[in-house]
């Protein structure tokens, strides 16, 4: 009798190998995701250290965001993440999107910066997406602006969105704003007569302790919209050069199924169809352009966040909401046991 395998033997061997590979593949994917998550945490740590170096130079943490398109923390810390050349080529009298603000300057290549992928601002678990808006690059890292909402009111007496005012606003069940490590340029004064105020937070003001206050977390890079030029059809999450895009608040849990309220964005396309994947929904901003962006990620079951002392932790979606909100404040006096 000649030596050989029967068909059944062969099939059994193939079936066993198939089962083994099926068992192995999720493990490989999990290992890849674990590596990407660690990479993300290391990026956060580096940026938080850049905040500390910025603090050494300027005696305060950077501004969270200037007015509208006029820059965010992501610009100010460039010299501290070895991107000094980019920083010095940037003209602070114009917006990142090259809009002429100061009449003495003509339009140039100001927005070159916004096309670049800056790896340290990126979470590798997320993709590599550009915005529908002018193909600007989307990133992931966002600073914490408290536990309620930020807003950009209309200019008094008009329906034109103000390029001047933005600040915090109490929203929902948050009854008192107890500070945050990052502030945005905001309106000071009455509705009819006001100026822009800035606040840079220094370490001594963080009385809750730097290890009890969130500096950074992450968001998802917004999807591209099929109708680029149709108003309100953008997903601008991850456009961190833009005032609203560079921040998040802890009003809602991480990775909530509640839609983020973001300017220029909407849940449905004008032509019909729902935007974005159901895990990270988005809709328009509320009255007075109230923006509420939650911490979001494609990691499984939570988000990474860097605390003010430079430590990075993984916060689960199931975190106690009081703890999560307390972690955002700088002088709430709450002790965090996280």
């Amino acid at each position: 009798m000649p030596f050989g395998f029967t068909l059944v033997e062969l099939l059994v061997v193939i079936a066993i190998i198939g089962v083994l590979i099926a068992l192995l593949l999720p493990a490989v994917q999990a290992a890849r995701e674990a590596a990407a998550r660690m990479n993300c945490q290391s990026n956060m740590k580096n940026v938080t250290l850049a905040f500390h170096n910025y603090h050494d130079t300027h005696q305060a943490f950077p501004l969270g965001g200037d007015r509208d398109t006029m820059g965010t923390w992501a610009l100010y810390v460039l010299p501290f993440i070895e991107q000094g050349a980019l920083y010095s080529s940037y003209n602070f009298r114009r917006g990142y999107n090259n809009n002429t603000v100061d009449s003495g300057f003509s339009k140039g290549n100001q927005d070159l910066l916004a096309y670049l992928r800056i790896p340290v601002y990126t979470c590798p678990t997320d993709g590599d997406r550009k915005s529908t808006y002018s193909n600007y690059m989307h990133h992931n890292l966002v600073v914490c602006m408290g536990n309620a909402a930020v807003y950009q009111p209309n200019d008094p007496g008009t329906s034109t969105t103000s390029t001047q005012g933005r600040g915090w606003v109490i929203y929902g069940d948050v009854t008192e704003i107890l500070g945050a490590m990052f502030w945005s340029g905001c309106r000071i004064g009455s509705d009819t007569s006001w100026s822009v105020g800035y606040k840079w937070v220094s370490m001594t003001e963080v009385t809750d302790g730097l290890s009890n206050t969130i500096a950074l977390s992450e968001t998802v890079q917004g999807d591209r919209s099929p109708s680029a030029h149709s108003a309100g059809s953008l997903d601008l999450r991850g456009l961190i050069w833009w005032g609203e895009g560079g921040q998040f608040t802890t009003y809602r849990s991480p990775n909530t199924l509640t839609a983020d309220n973001v300017q220029f964005s909407n849940a449905t396309y004008p032509g019909g169809g729902t935007m974005h994947n159901p895990r990270h929904p988005i809709t328009a901003s509320l009255a007075n352009n109230i923006t509420i962006m939650s911490a979001r990620s494609f990691h499984s079951g939570g988000v990474n966040a860097a605390l003010g002392d430079g430590s990075v932790r993984f916060f689960p979606d199931t975190i106690n909401i009081d703890t999560w909100r307390a972690l955002a404040t700088t002088y709430g006096g709450e002790a965090s046991n996280q």
Partner: protein, 140 residues
């Protein structure tokens, strides 16, 4: 005889592996329901639940509303207890749409048309209970 049960170790192994995954340690519950405004299903909005009872686990959750429905699967749902409900309904302001090749110059205003007693000044409360279907409909 042995041949008949050769698959048993495999079955045991798979059951063991499945048993490892407890994705819902807080015993959260699935929440779902329908939201209508003036009889029409809400197609663009949010519903949020803020813990107000004395439940030990204080979870905040919510969902986007689409086609008049919302739902949170159990791992992202709520633990049993009392919650305040806040609903927002986004509607395009008629005549506010300006489409421009530069999307940032495109403009469209949205407004929240949820009645105050459901929205900004909400008085709606629900009680989430174990051992029951947690379906909450809101007619505004």
């Amino acid at each position: 005889m042995i041949k008949q049960y050769f698959f048993l170790p495999f079955v045991c192994f798979f059951v063991f592996v499945l048993g490892c995954a407890d994705s819902n340690p807080q015993n959260r519950l699935k929440i779902e329901g329908e939201v209508t405004l003036g009889g029409n299903p809400v197609n663009n909005g949010n519903i949020e639940f803020e813990p107000v009872g004395n439940q030990k686990e204080r979870t905040h959750s919510g969902s986007a509303i689409s086609n008049g429905r919302y739902s949170m699967p159990a791992p992202q749902g709520l633990v049993a207890g009392e919650y305040r409900v806040r609903i927002s309904v986004m509607e395009e302001v008629p005549g506010s749409r300006v489409d421009n090749p530069d999307p940032m110059l495109s403009k469209v205003e949205y407004r929240d048309i949820a009645p105050p007693e459901f929205g900004s000044q909400t008085i709606q409360k629900i009680t989430v209970e174990t051992d029951k279907v947690n379906k909450f409909d809101f007619k505004m």
